[in-house]
């Protein structure tokens, strides 16, 4: 299932929902963006994403928000813990 939405985020949406939509579109997930629990784990159980999916999310995040996730200077385990934690990191670092 592919959800067709514009890549430009609506400012009225919550940042976490906008990010959820980006993730659903990027990975072609068969789940509605609004149905992703902001506190549920992104990696492994929960959405069942693997580290290559995480890289794909990181590339999309970098394109959309200008926030580059790097391996050396960030705690990726913490950032990728959940949709909420990733969204929070982006909001703190976006340009």
């Amino acid at each position: 299932m592919k959800i067709l939405t514009e890549p430009v985020r609506q400012t009225s949406e919550s940042p976490a929902l906008a990010l959820a939509q980006l993730i659903v579109e990027t990975l072609n997930l068969e789940v509605a963006a609004a149905a992703i629990d902001p506190d549920a784990p992104l990696f492994g159980e929960g959405l069942g994403l693997d580290s290559i999916d995480m890289l794909e999310i990181a590339l999309a995040v970098s394109q959309t928000y200008g926030v580059k996730l790097r391996a050396d200077d960030t705690d990726n385990n913490q950032i990728f813990r959940s949709l909420g934690s990733l969204s929070q990191y982006i909001q703190q670092h976006r340009v």
């Binding site: 693997d50 580290s51 290559i52 890289l55 996730l69 391996a71 050396d72 385990n77 990728f80």
Partner: protein, 298 residues
């Protein structure tokens, strides 16, 4: 394609076994020298062949396919002995005693070219022969920096063992199985590094695809090819075959980049199939170099 795949217990059996072999051989290698240590490997291999019926059966099953004839006990012994020798030789390779080996490198210009373009390359290896002989390429290619991507539990054990032998030469290990593992690989490639991964084995959590290997479908991980599709670095197959005595033969071969930039498992299949077909070629060239001692077609 299955996800998740049925549990595979090679971590429990194969790695503990090979770690025992590794510890044992480090001790022997240092005190007794290569020739005497190899002689001692013979009874050790006989012991393993007798005490490990599952590994013995896996060896026979593989060799029958690769040799095109039924494999006997002598074939199994030769198979284990080849494995033992490459493990033993790791000690000398890490101790910077490369001069004792006679090395032939095929396709070295591939590495030279990639380095000249700034580097950044995915090296697809296999549990076939010795990946460690890559160090010998480093002697003629001083700009070559190699990181190895492997599962953390395995990586920690191997890293600890390599560290014990020579802390200066242990390769940088990228632990798989964490959310940031692939981001770390991306960073490595961007900095011009070579990232090696053994693309023939899977763990329970990997997405796999069945590809014909010696005429029967076997599960291969899709991860390495999905990563190649997403990042699009040059992809090179590398095997280091043990050819008996003190001879090793290193082969580099370019693999075609995936056609699709989408890292979906379906789009990754042609690259995996190409890798598997070349791997089969090198398995026929050097059947006793195959070091997956479990039922590969399970």
């Amino acid at each position: 394609m299955n996800k998740p795949r049925a549990a595979i217990d090679w971590t429990a059996r194969g790695e503990i076994g090979s770690m025992a072999v590794l510890r044992c051989t480090v001790w022997l290698a240092r005190r007794l020298g290569r020739n005497f240590s190899r002689m001692l490997l013979l009874p050790v291999c006989l012991g393993f062949a007798v005490c490990w019926p599952a590994s013995r059966a896996a060896s026979k099953c593989f060799l029958a396919r690769a040799l095109g004839r039924p494999a006997g006990m002598l074939d199994v012994l030769k198979h284990f002995f080849t494995f033992g020798t490459t493990v033993l030789d790791r000690v000398y390779l890490l101790n910077d005693e490369a001069d004792r080996f006679e090395i032939t490198i095929h396709g070295e210009q591939i590495v030279t070219e990639i380095l000249a373009q700034g580097g950044g390359c995915l090296l697809f290896g296999a549990h076939h022969g010795s990946f460690e002989v890559l160090r010998l390429v480093g002697r003629s290619q001083p700009n070559l920096r190699v990181s190895l991507a492997m599962y953390e539990a395995t990586g920690r054990k191997i890293g600890a063992a390599l560290n014990a032998i020579n802390p200066h030469l242990a390769p940088l290990i990228i632990g798989l199985g964490t959310p940031g593992a692939m981001i770390e690989i991306r960073d490595c490639l961007e900095q011009g590094g070579f990232v090696g991964m053994l693309a023939d084995r899977t763990l329970a959590s990997d997405t796999t695809v069945k590809v014909d290997f010696f005429g029967a479908p076997a599960a291969f991980p899709t991860g390495p090819a999905r990563l190649a599709a997403l990042l699009r670095p040059p992809v090179v197959l590398m095997v280091g075959l043990f050819r008996g005595g003190n001879r090793y033969e290193i082969h580099f071969e370019r693999l075609a980049a995936p056609a699709s930039a989408r890292p979906d498992p379906e789009g990754a299949t042609p690259l995996i199939a190409q890798y598997v077909s070349r791997l089969e070629h090198y398995c026929r060239e050097a059947p006793y170099n195959w070091f997956n001692f479990f039922d590969f077609w399970a």
